[in-house]
């Protein structure tokens, strides 16, 4: 029987000829990523070694990536102390892929990993962040884990007792209408699957729309796969993947795409024709509460956020800048833009996107997670409403359980910034 992409990657990593859903395996890890929560991983890592008489040593410092992004620059002495502890550990253990708070190499972990070629097709990637599913966009098996699990991985180089998940095939065909993007597609998919419709499953994306999509769009899709509960969200690698890794990430060594077997066994296949898809929006307080934007048009807004590991890439900033160029952000809203990485920030600066956005009234913030998780900047007041290109709208997500968060594409966010109300981007010329 044939194998899906996830099964092939896991079989290879576990040194087996084949695996089946439900098998318990111990795959070797190609890349282990953490951010500020490395502070907790370090604590648990030392706990593992405590009383063993062994010198705490990570299994392979070259395969560990640590990226500061969640609270940059530090918002409190507590965070600053965590970051200091991590820096010391990085030095002590010789960790190779470390990204500091910097204007040249900094950024959100889920942008840095692709941008620097740290993830390759066929890799087994683990990260102490639920949106680690993002890296499936490059044809890798990538999933989020907790800090103690990561401490175990740092000690052993494998993940213990992994149950091979079954795979759901998602076929996306049709022709996208103007003002409809990858974000609208994945919101629609999550709305259909529901928030736990893919729990313990892998989503494997196929179809002409996915094949024609840029890596940036694919990252948006894989990123949000976890919002349907998925363990991983994989876009099998193709020429677009290879071109990205060569041209953008500067990878020079061999790249080996993994594709599913013809006779691979899927738990089910979900087919979507996007030809009639309109701009979508996730309404409070769950990501699967998805509606067409036109259903909630006119809702008054207080804050608009463009950025995050979902939609803070160059293409996203370009769309927003095109819509807002020469226009003005409405008086009743604050618009915050945080590019996903320093490199994107600098490219957007050169291309003039940032000055167009700034001139329209948007505040350009430093690259990082910004207000996405509600701990650092851009908290909401009681009773306020935000429209964001981020990936979560749970109660309290933007720092206040008494506020509402809606999720949409950069085009919808930018069009809404002009009116100060939720606005269908099809009214704008893009």
């Amino acid at each position: 029987m044939g194998l899906t992409v996830a099964e092939k990657i896991l079989a290879r990593a576990a040194d087996k000829n084949t695996v089946r859903p439900g098998d318990i395996i111990e795959p070797a890890v190609d890349l282990a990523m953490s951010h500020e929560n490395a502070a907790l991983v370090i604590n648990q890592f030392f706990e593992v070694y405590s009383g063993t008489g062994l010198q705490p040593k990570v299994w392979d410092p070259a395969r560990i990536a640590i990226i500061f992004d969640h609270r940059v620059p530090a918002e409190s002495s507590k965070t600053a102390n965590n970051q200091k502890k991590i820096r010391e550990f990085v030095k002590e253990q010789g960790i190779g892929k470390f990204h500091e708070i910097r204007g040249d190499v900094g950024g959100i972990c889920h942008q840095i990993l692709p941008e620097y070629g740290y993830v390759r097709p066929g890799y087994m990637v683990l990260g102490t962040d639920s949106h680690t599913t993002s890296h499936g966009a490059l044809g890798a098996f990538a999933m989020g884990i907790g800090a103690t699990e990561m401490a175990s991985v740092w000690s052993l180089g494998t993940i213990l007792n992994l149950e091979v998940p079954g795979t759901i095939k998602i076929l996306v065909n049709g022709t996208l209408q103007p003002a409809v993007y990858a974000k609208d597609i994945i919101l629609n998919i999550i709305g259909n699957l529901t928030a736990n419709g893919a729990t313990f499953k892998v989503l494997e994306y196929h179809g002409s729309v996915i094949r024609e999509m840029s890596v940036s769009g694919r990252l948006t899709i894989s990123n949000m796969s976890v919002e349907a509960g998925a363990t991983a969200g994989i876009v099998p690698a193709d020429d677009t993947t290879i071109r990205y890794l060569r041209d953008v990430a500067g990878v020079t060594d061999e790249i080996e795409p993994v594709s599913a077997d013809e006779n691979a066994v899927y738990e089910k296949t979900v087919e979507i024709d996007v030809s009639a898809l309109t701009p979508q929006i996730a309404c409070p307080h769950t990501v699967d509460n998805v509606k067409p934007v036109s259903d909630v048009e006119g809702m008054e807004l207080n804050q608009i956020v463009i950025g995050s590991c979902t939609n803070g890439r160059l293409e996203d900033l370009e769309i927003a800048a095109k819509i807002l160029k020469g226009k003005s952000v409405a008086d009743n809203v604050r618009m915050l833009v945080f590019p996903a990485s320093a490199r994107i920030y600098n490219e957007a600066l050169k291309k003039g996107y940032l000055s167009d956005l700034s001139a329209s009234g948007a505040v350009i913030m430093n690259p990082g997670c910004g207000c996405c998780l509600g701990v650092h900047q851009g908290a909401l007041a009681d009773g306020e409403t935000a429209l964001a290109t981020t990936n979560r709208n749970f109660k309290g997500r933007m720092g206040n359980p008494n506020a509402d968060v809606y999720l949409c594409s950069p085009a919808t966010a930018a069009a809404s910034a002009i009116t100060g109300k939720i606005t269908d981007p099809r009214h704008e010329r893009i």
């Binding site: 648990q44 639920s130 699990e149 175990s152 213990l160 729990t199 997500r397």
Partner: protein, 166 residues
């Protein structure tokens, strides 16, 4: 026998269990203070030790969805709570197992605050309603990690074994 101290609906996210603004606090010894911090009265009762260890939180489907933050499991473990839900989100369930937080999947569970439940091997008896609900056991490997007292001890054993071999 243990008492239900909080009853929740579907899709309770880690932002609700352990709000993001407390995420700079990471140590399992310090996180319990912020469990359900936005449920002010409940949080205060927890911190004032109003509930006995083994007290129960009832969740609906997809309990613990969202972020991978382990604080959401460690803060509940610190109060020695038991979580019964119709289903759990993957990362939360694994974090709970890794930290030794007791979780029980009971797809049809119905219980209200202050109900008294008797938890058995394969079922839960609600003394207040007189009804019995079946439970789905943890997988063998997850149970093995629980039995070892969590993933730290489980990994430590493996580490010593591997090192003895080389």
């Amino acid at each position: 026998m243990a008492k239900v101290i909080l009853k929740l609906g579907d899709d309770i996210s880690t932002d609700t269990i352990y709000p993001g603004r407390f995420m700079a606090t990471v140590l399992p010894t310090e996180t319990p203070a912020f469990a359900f911090a936005d449920y002010k009265e409940f949080n205060k009762n927890l911190n004032d030790k109003k509930f006995t260890p083994g007290s129960i939180i009832i969740g609906g489907n997809n309990f613990g969805c969202g972020s991978s933050r382990e604080q959401a499991a460690s803060c509940l473990k610190g109060h020695e709570l038991v979580i019964i839900a119709k289903s759990f989100a993957r990362i939360f369930l694994q974090n709970a197992v890794n930290l030794g937080l007791k979780t029980i999947t009971a797809p049809d569970i119905e219980a209200h605050e202050n109900d008294e439940l008797v938890i058995d091997e394969a079922k839960i008896f609600n003394r207040s309603s007189g009804k019995t609900y079946k439970t789905i056991p943890l997988s063998g490997t997850r149970q093995a990690v629980m039995d070892a007292g969590g993933l730290i001890r489980y990994t430590r054993k493996r580490l010593l074994k591997t090192n003895a071999r080389t």
